[in-house]
């Protein structure tokens, strides 16, 4: 540092932090605001969940759980509302504020040209950009998913949301990181195609909303449903407490199924007559068991990661084939 050639360089210009060099330094410097916001949100969210868990554990300890039965619904607390809002909104935030402007922003400001006429190729630059966005999505997803799972899993009986519902299924295990990666990739792809920041963000927003609807329908399809038949006038056995009921029928002794409302008549007399006519003696449920959750989550994560890989390959192909 004190060689004669460097003495002309004033201390202010000499890079003090040598942690990052080259393109990684550039992309971090360029996106540092967005980076700080997402990382800050992740840390605050994680601390908030840890605090929530601590509160819950204290409450349950005081009430003597698990020896005594405790009636408590985490979903009714304000803290849970904030947590699910953050976790549910994070894919949108990443797609909108990291993904969409990642390429479109440089394209719009002409800074693609600035960077790729230094001594780095377009592909190197793109890989650094994608690396930053995906690392951010992955870190954020892993941290939040880990703490949320840690809160939810041992105390799931106090959560009103079922395990297959969005607030739980999408925010625990491998699904959250995979979802964040996929949504970021979707934003990047849209930004690459649209090439302007604001339109790219609008399209990304619409895509995220649509994808949310599709995903809500899709989740159930990940598991394979099973049937369970039990006598009409008995309760469903307790072991199904954590199962997700997909559908419910009534059936006769021959195993024929009828819709749940088949004999919903105005009077009990008419109802009994109807049941007698069809020979209905059983209740039948179609369900997905809780023990399928892990497999379903990994399948979901696999699908999302495959989608991420396809979108990434497309972006790389398009950017290196066509000038930006």
């Amino acid at each position: 540092m004190s060689t004669s050639t460097l003495t002309e360089t004033p201390a202010g210009l000499r890079p003090r932090r040598r942690l990052l060099r080259g393109l990684p330094w550039l992309v971090v410097r360029q996106h540092r605001t967005a980076l700080a916001c997402i990382l800050g949100l992740t840390v605050l969210g994680a601390l908030w969940i840890v605090y929530q868990r601590h509160e819950l554990v204290q409450l349950l300890d005081a009430a003597g759980w698990p020896e005594k039965e405790v009636r408590h619904a985490v979903d009714d607390t304000r803290g849970y509302g904030y947590t699910t809002a953050l976790l549910g909104g994070l894919p949108l935030l990443l797609a909108l504020f990291i993904g969409a402007p990642l390429i479109a922003g440089d394209r719009e400001n002409g800074t693609v040209q600035l960077v790729t006429t230094q001594s780095v190729t377009r592909r190197q630059w793109l890989i650094a950009k994608l690396g930053l966005a995906y690392t951010l999505a992955l870190v954020s997803g892993l941290v939040l998913s880990a703490v949320f799972t840690w809160w939810w899993e041992p105390h799931r009986s106090f959560f009103l949301s079922q395990w297959i519902e969005g607030p739980v299924f999408d925010n625990t295990g491998p699904v959250l990181p995979a979802m964040l990666l996929f949504m970021t990739a979707a934003g990047i792809t849209i930004g690459t195609l649209v090439r302007r920041v604001l339109p790219a963000m609008v399209v990304t927003f619409l895509f995220t909303v649509m994808a949310g609807f599709v995903w809500d329908e899709f989740r159930v399809l990940l598991g394979s449903t099973r049937m369970f038949t039990y006598p009409l006038d008995t309760e469903l056995p307790a072991r199904f407490a954590e199962s997700y009921e997909v559908d419910r029928w009534v059936g006769n002794a021959n195993g024929e199924l009828f819709g749940w409302g088949t004999c919903a008549e105005a009077t009990e007399k008419a109802q009994n007559a109807c049941m007698k006519e069809h020979g209905i003696i059983n209740s039948v449920i179609e369900y997905i068991d809780y023990d399928q959750m892990a497999a379903m989550q990994w399948t979901a994560a696999g699908i999302l990661l495959a989608g991420t890989a396809i979108l990434t390959a497309f972006v790389l192909w398009r950017v290196s084939r066509r000038p930006l």
Partner: protein
């Protein structure tokens, strides 16, 4: 490094060399059948009307645009080889910079992304314009921003500097300052400069080599000093209101009939009739004549042309 002004034919002595270069967009050919070469160490002006293909040519040279046909080499290295990247620097019309970066950040970017970065030179250029190092790029004036862009370009220590209308958005004072800076730095390092410009006078002052492009084709390439003497302005009497047949013996760039007189810019191929008045045109007149008549025959003095096989055409 080739710093000779009279290239001897070795690949490295040509700063830029195009063979059958062409680029077609959806609309059609932006640049077609371009074969030319620019010797190392020269300040080359790239002249042509809007949409002539100047920016496309510079885009091809800076790897922003991929050619449809042909090839382009910078100091003998094909432009599609990443090894060419440290050898050139580019300053575009827009001079894009990261607006939220400080000047110091911008120079650090140059240092981080270029292997042969010359921090002292870049900083000297910035300091000599009194640009504060900790100011954000977005707060600088147009002239200051151009200076930072220049610093970034020269800090890269390029052998070839490509400039696309570098002064177009500057006020006369800043333009003068930047021209001086450009010439001083280029001369000091022996950098080859290729700059496109609308300002013909600017080119006349700065450039010693010219590449004239019109309608996607090269019209002229060669030494500025050789191009002008090759042309003559003649004035004579028309025959029955039309041009005299003697004119056809010479290469005619442009003609104008005015009453009983005609004016023509020609490249003489022999003695001229004694009753014609002759005059030597200025560089500006030659360029304008060529730009107005894109169908006029091209001119390549001193072997600036390479044919598709790469041998030097006469």
């Amino acid at each position: 490094m080739a710093d000779t002004s009279t290239p001897n034919g070795t690949p490295g002595s040509w700063a830029l060399e195009a063979r059958g270069l062409g680029k077609r967009y959806f609309r059609g050919w932006a640049l077609r059948d371009c074969s030319f070469r620019i010797p190392a160490g020269r300040i080359c002006g790239l002249v042509g009307p809007n949409g002539a293909g100047k920016s496309t040519l510079l885009g091809l040279a800076t790897r922003q645009v991929e050619p449809t046909t042909g090839e382009l080499r910078i100091f003998g290295v094909p432009v599609d080889d990443p090894a060419v990247m440290p050898r050139f620097a580019f300053l575009g019309q827009e001079k894009p910079l990261f607006k939220r970066f400080t000047v110091a950040d911008t120079l650090r970017m140059g240092a981080e992304l270029n292997p042969g970065w010359d921090a002292a030179a870049a900083e000297r250029i910035v300091r000599s314009g009194n640009v504060p190092l900790h100011a954000r790029i977005g707060t600088l004036s147009g002239g200051q921003r151009t200076r930072v862009a220049f610093a970034l370009a020269f800090g890269k220590r390029p052998d070839l500097l490509l400039l696309d209308e570098p002064m177009s958005d500057l006020d006369p004072l800043a333009r003068d300052e930047m021209s001086t800076l450009l010439m001083a730095e280029a001369v000091e390092r022996g950098t080859t400069v290729v700059m496109s410009s609308h300002m013909l006078t600017e080119l006349e002052d700065m450039c010693d080599y010219l590449l004239v492009v019109a309608e996607g084709r090269i019209r002229m390439a060669g030494d500025a000093d050789a191009l002008v003497p090759a042309h003559t302005l003649v004035t004579g009497v028309t025959r029955d209101g039309s041009l005299p047949p003697e004119l056809d013996r010479h290469t005619v760039v442009e003609t104008r009939v005015q009453g009983r007189q005609f004016h023509a810019m020609i490249r003489p191929k022999g003695p001229l009739p004694t009753d014609w008045e002759t005059a030597e045109p200025s560089l500006e007149e030659v360029l304008l004549a060529h730009l107005r008549s894109p169908d006029a025959p091209s001119l390549y003095p001193q072997g600036a042309r390479v044919d598709a096989e790469g041998t030097q055409a006469a």
